[in-house]
C-alpha cells in the first residue's frame, strides 16, 4: 500500500495540469449557464482542442488516439479536469462508453469509420438501451429488428437517451430473435440518427429540464454491416458498454462533492442560526462533518477499487458499492444543503434572492435521479447480494 503517486503518475498529471493551464478556455463561466443547445458548438470545439493535445480519450489504446492510460491515470485525468474547472466534452458517451465498445467488439472497418469522428466530436453518439417496459430489467428489451435482406427494419421506442437531440449515431440494442430466451435474442446496431423513421422527443424531467430524450423508431432501415459484435450477442456487447460506465469517471465526483461541501462550509459562516453563524451551531457542525468524512471515504473506496481493478484486470461487481455510495451520499449532501439554507433552499435559478444562482434547489431535485439512473440502488444491492456475497438471486 503506497498512496504516493508513482513517477509515471506524477509525470502524467503534471503534463496534463500544465496543458490545462494553457488550454482551458477562459470564458467558460460565460457559457456555463446557457442552454446546452447554445453551448454545444463551444463544447465540440473544446473536445477538438483536447483531442489535438491527445487528451480526449486517455484510456484508449495509443493506436486509436488515446494514451493507454492506467486506471489511476484515468482517475487523475478526471480529477485534473475537475480541478481546472474544465468544460465537459461534447461527445462524452462516444468517448467514455461507445468508442471503447467499438474498439473492443467492432470490425476493423467499423473502427476506421467511427473512431476518428468520435474523437474529434464530428459525430456525436447516443445510447439506445432503456425502454418504457425495460428499465431495471434490461433483458426484457422489446424493440423489434426484423431482417429484410441485408437490412434490419427496426420498430419501437427507447427512453432516457442522453444526447438524443444532438446525436448523429446511436448504439442501439434491439431484439433480433423473439423466440430466444430473454437476453439471448438481443443484438447491438450502430444506427444513423438521420435515418428515415427516427424521431427524437424531449423527455422532461422533474427538474424541469430535458436532459434526456425519447427515441421513436418506425420502420428504420439499418444495414447488417452496422451490427456491433455478433448477431444475438447484443447482451454481452451492451454489458461491456455498461461496465465502462462504472469506470474511472467517478473519480471526478470527489472533487465535485468537495466543491459542494466547501461552499456549504463557507455559507455556514454567514448564515445565522440561533443568533450565531451556522458554522458554530453544533447540529450543523455534526452534519457538515459527517458529510465531509463520507466524501473522503467515497474517495478511499474508489482508490481501493482502482487498485484492485488494476491488479485483477477487470472491474468487478464490487463497483456497485461505489454507485450506491455516491448516489446516496449526494442525496444526503443536498439534504444538508437544504437544512442549512432553510427557506432560501427552495428558490430556483433566476430568482434574485436565490443563493448561488439556485444551484441548490436544482441539485436537490436532480439527486433524486441519482439512485435511479445507471442502475437503481435496488439493482445495485441485488448485484452485491448475488454476485459479491453469493446469495441466491432475489428477482
Amino acid at each position: 500500500m503506497d498512496l504516493n503517486l508513482t513517477t509515471e503518475e506524477l509525470t502524467f498529471r503534471d503534463e496534463l495540469r500544465a496543458w490545462l493551464v494553457f488550454n482551458v478556455p477562459k470564458d467558460w463561466n460565460e457559457w456555463r449557464e446557457k442552454p446546452i443547445e447554445e453551448s454545444f458548438p463551444y463544447l465540440r470545439a473544446w473536445q477538438q482542442k483536447l483531442h489535438d493535445g491527445r487528451w480526449a480519450a486517455v484510456s484508449w489504446p495509443k493506436q486509436y488516439g488515446g494514451r493507454s492510460a492506467t486506471l489511476m491515470q484515468q482517475a487523475l485525468f478526471w480529477e485534473e479536469m475537475a480541478r481546472a474547472d474544465a468544460p465537459p466534452m461534447a461527445n462524452s458517451l462516444g468517448l467514455g462508453l461507445i468508442g471503447p465498445t467499438i474498439i473492443a467488439c467492432g470490425t476493423e472497418a467499423q473502427k476506421k469509420r467511427y473512431i476518428p469522428k468520435i474523437l474529434s466530436a464530428e459525430e456525436i453518439w447516443c445510447q439506445g438501451f432503456s425502454e418504457p417496459n425495460a428499465g431495471s430489467d434490461l433483458a426484457g428489451l422489446q424493440m423489434e429488428a426484423r431482417l429484410d435482406g441485408d437490412l434490419y427494419v427496426v420498430n419501437g421506442q427507447k427512453v432516457w437517451t442522453s444526447y438524443g437531440w444532438v446525436g448523429d449515431w446511436c448504439e442501439l440494442v434491439v431484439r433480433t430473435d423473439a423466440s430466444a430466451a430473454k437476453h439471448k435474442g438481443l443484438t447491438v446496431l450502430l444506427v444513423d440518427m438521420k435515418s428515415a423513421g427516427v424521431e427524437v422527443r424531449p423527455l422532461r424531467q422533474m427538474t424541469g429540464e430535458s436532459e434526456f430524450n425519447e427515441l421513436f423508431f418506425r420502420d428504420v432501415r439499418v444495414p447488417v454491416e452496422n451490427i456491433l459484435g455478433k448477431v444475438n450477442d447484443g447482451w454481452n456487447v451492451a454489458m461491456s458498454t455498461l461496465m465502462y460506465e462504472r469506470g474511472s469517471y467517478g473519480a471526478r465526483l470527489h472533487l465535485i462533492f468537495k466543491r459542494y461541501i466547501t461552499r456549504l462550509i463557507e455559507l455556514s459562516r454567514t448564515i445565522q442560526r440561533n443568533g450565531r453563524p451556522a458554522a458554530e451551531d453544533p447540529l450543523i457542525r455534526q452534519k457538515l462533518a459527517q458529510c465531509s468524512a463520507e466524501i473522503e471515504i467515497m474517495r478511499f473506496n474508489q482508490m481501493r477499487a482502482f487498485s484492485r481493478i488494476t491488479a485483477t484486470g477487470v472491474p468487478g461487481p464490487e463497483g456497485s458499492i461505489q454507485k450506491i455510495f455516491w448516489s446516496e451520499l449526494n442525496q444526503r449532501l443536498q439534504q444538508i444543503a437544504q437544512e442549512l439554507l432553510g427557506s432560501y433552499g427552495q428558490l430556483l435559478s433566476g430568482d434574485t434572492h436565490a443563493i448561488d444562482k439556485g444551484i441548490w434547489s436544482y441539485a436537490y431535485l436532480r439527486t433524486r435521479g441519482n439512485t435511479i439512473e445507471a442502475g437503481t440502488s435496488e439493482v445495485q444491492r441485488n448485484i452485491i447480494g448475488h454476485f459479491v456475497l453469493g446469495l441466491p438471486r432475489s428477482y
Binding site: G135, L203, M206, G208, G342, S343, T376, E378
Partner: protein, 367 residues
C-alpha cells in the same frame, strides 16, 4: 374516548375529497400551477359555496364555526388534491391571525369578507434572515407607516390585503396602498406562489399585538402538517398502484420486498403523521395545555415523513418517478416548501425540547 372521526367529520372529509377530485383534478391543478398566481376566481367561488373560506370562524362573521379537527380534515384533502391558490394563505393563515389578534370591529372589516369569499389575504412574516423565530422579526412601524422587505410571502399578488407581522404590532396593508411593491419569487412549489413584498413608508393599520400570534401560527402550522398528510396519502396511493401494475423480471415490482417494504414504511409514516395531526387538531380545539407541544410534534414528524414518503415514492417509480409528466414531483415540491414553512423538523424539535426538557413536562394529555 373516541379517536375516530365522527359521522359528520367523515362526511366533511368525504365531500371535500369528492369536491376537489371533481373541481380540481390533476389536469386543472397543472393548468393553474402554470399561471402567474395559481389563483382561479371561479374555483374560489365554488370553495366559498362549500363554506371552506369560513370553515373555522364564528357564524357572526359569516363563518361556519367548525372545529380545528374539521380544519385538519379539510387541509388533508387540499393536500391530497394539491389544491393551488390562496386557501391556506387567506383562510388558515390570515383568517386565524385576524381571529387571534383583532377587535370585533376589525373582524367585521377583514375576517367577514374572507368568510364570504370576497377577499383574499396573506400574512407577511419572514425577513432576510428567513428565521421563524419571532425574535428575528425586525420590521417596525413608525407613525403608522411600514418600510422594509418581507420575503417568502405566499399568494401576495392576489391578496386584497396583507397582514404584516412587525416588532411592534400586527398591521394590515391594503393591496393598493402606496409604497407597496410585490414581486414574484421563483420557488420549487409551483402551486403556492411566493413573493417579495417591499414597503416604503406604506400606510398600515394596526390591528393587534404580536404577542397574540402564537396560537394563530400554531393553527397554521398544524394545517400545513395536515396538508402534508394528504400529500403523503396521495403519493402512497399512486405508488402502490404503480407497484401493483408495473412489471419487471416478469413480476409486479410490488412483489419484491425492496419495493413492498418501502411501501409499508410509507404507510407507517403517513398514518403516524395523520395520528399526530388529528391529535394536534383536537388539542388546539380544546385549548389543551399540550396544544403547542402537539402542534410541534405533528409538524416535526410530518416534515420529515413528507420528505421520506416522497423520496420513497419517486424511487419506487424508477425513471417514471423522475419525469415531469408524473405528478409525484409536484407533491414532492409542495412537501419541500411545507417542510420549511413555519419551522422545519429541527426547529420544532428544539421547541419540543424547550417544553419537555426545560419546563419539566408538557406532554400529551394522557387519561
Amino acid at each position: 374516548m373516541q379517536f375516530g372521526l365522527s359521522e359528520s367529520q367523515e362526511f366533511l372529509k368525504d365531500s371535500a375529497r369528492k369536491f376537489f377530485a371533481g373541481e380540481c383534478p390533476s389536469a386543472e391543478m397543472r393548468r393553474l400551477m402554470d399561471t402567474d398566481s395559481a389563483y382561479d376566481a371561479a374555483l374560489w367561488s365554488k370553495l366559498t359555496d362549500q363554506g371552506y373560506t369560513g370553515i373555522i370562524f364564528p357564524e357572526e362573521y359569516g363563518g361556519v364555526g367548525l372545529g380545528k379537527v374539521e380544519l385538519m380534515l379539510l387541509m388533508e384533502e387540499t393536500g391530497r388534491a394539491l389544491l393551488p391558490g390562496p386557501l391556506f394563505s387567506t383562510v388558515v393563515l390570515a383568517g386565524s391571525v385576524l381571529e387571534a389578534v383583532s377587535t370585533p370591529a376589525n373582524k367585521k372589516k377583514y375576517l367577514a369578507p374572507i368568510c364570504r369569499g370576497e377577499a383574499r389575504a396573506t400574512v407577511a412574516i419572514l425577513e432576510a434572515s428567513a428565521s421563524w423565530n419571532p425574535r428575528d422579526v425586525h420590521m417596525n412601524a413608525t407613525n403608522g407607516k411600514l418600510s422594509g422587505e418581507k420575503l417568502f410571502v405566499s399568494d401576495a399578488a392576489i391578496a386584497d390585503f396583507i397582514i404584516v407581522v412587525a416588532r411592534n404590532g400586527v398591521f394590515v396593508v391594503d393591496s393598493k396602498a402606496r409604497g407597496l411593491k410585490i414581486s414574484p419569487m421563483s420557488a420549487m412549489d409551483l402551486t403556492r406562489k411566493l413573493y417579495v413584498v417591499e414597503f416604503s413608508n406604506t400606510p398600515a393599520e394596526e390591528i393587534g399585538a404580536a404577542t397574540d400570534l402564537p396560537r394563530a401560527f400554531d393553527i397554521a402550522t398544524a394545517a400545513l402538517a395536515a396538508e402534508l398528510v394528504g400529500g403523503m396519502q396521495r403519493t402512497l396511493d399512486i405508488t402502490v398502484e404503480y407497484a401493483k401494475t408495473r412489471k419487471q423480471f416478469g413480476k409486479p415490482i410490488g412483489m419484491f420486498q425492496a419495493v413492498q417494504h418501502q411501501c409499508a414504511d410509507m404507510y407507517l409514516e403517513t398514518e403516524s403523521s395523520r395520528s399526530a395531526v388529528y391529535y394536534a387538531g383536537w388539542a388546539l380545539g380544546e385549548n389543551s395545555p399540550d396544544a403547542a407541544t402537539s402542534v410541534s410534534i405533528a409538524k416535526m414528524y410530518a416534515s420529515d415523513a413528507g420528505r421520506a414518503v416522497g423520496n420513497r415514492g419517486i424511487q419506487i417509480h424508477g425513471g417514471m418517478g423522475f419525469t415531469w409528466e408524473n405528478d409525484l414531483h409536484l407533491f414532492y415540491r409542495r412537501a419541500k416548501a411545507s417542510e420549511t414553512a413555519f419551522g422545519d423538523a429541527t426547529f420544532h424539535r428544539e421547541r419540543i425540547a424547550s417544553m419537555v426538557i426545560d419546563s419539566g413536562s408538557a406532554s400529551a394529555k394522557s387519561a
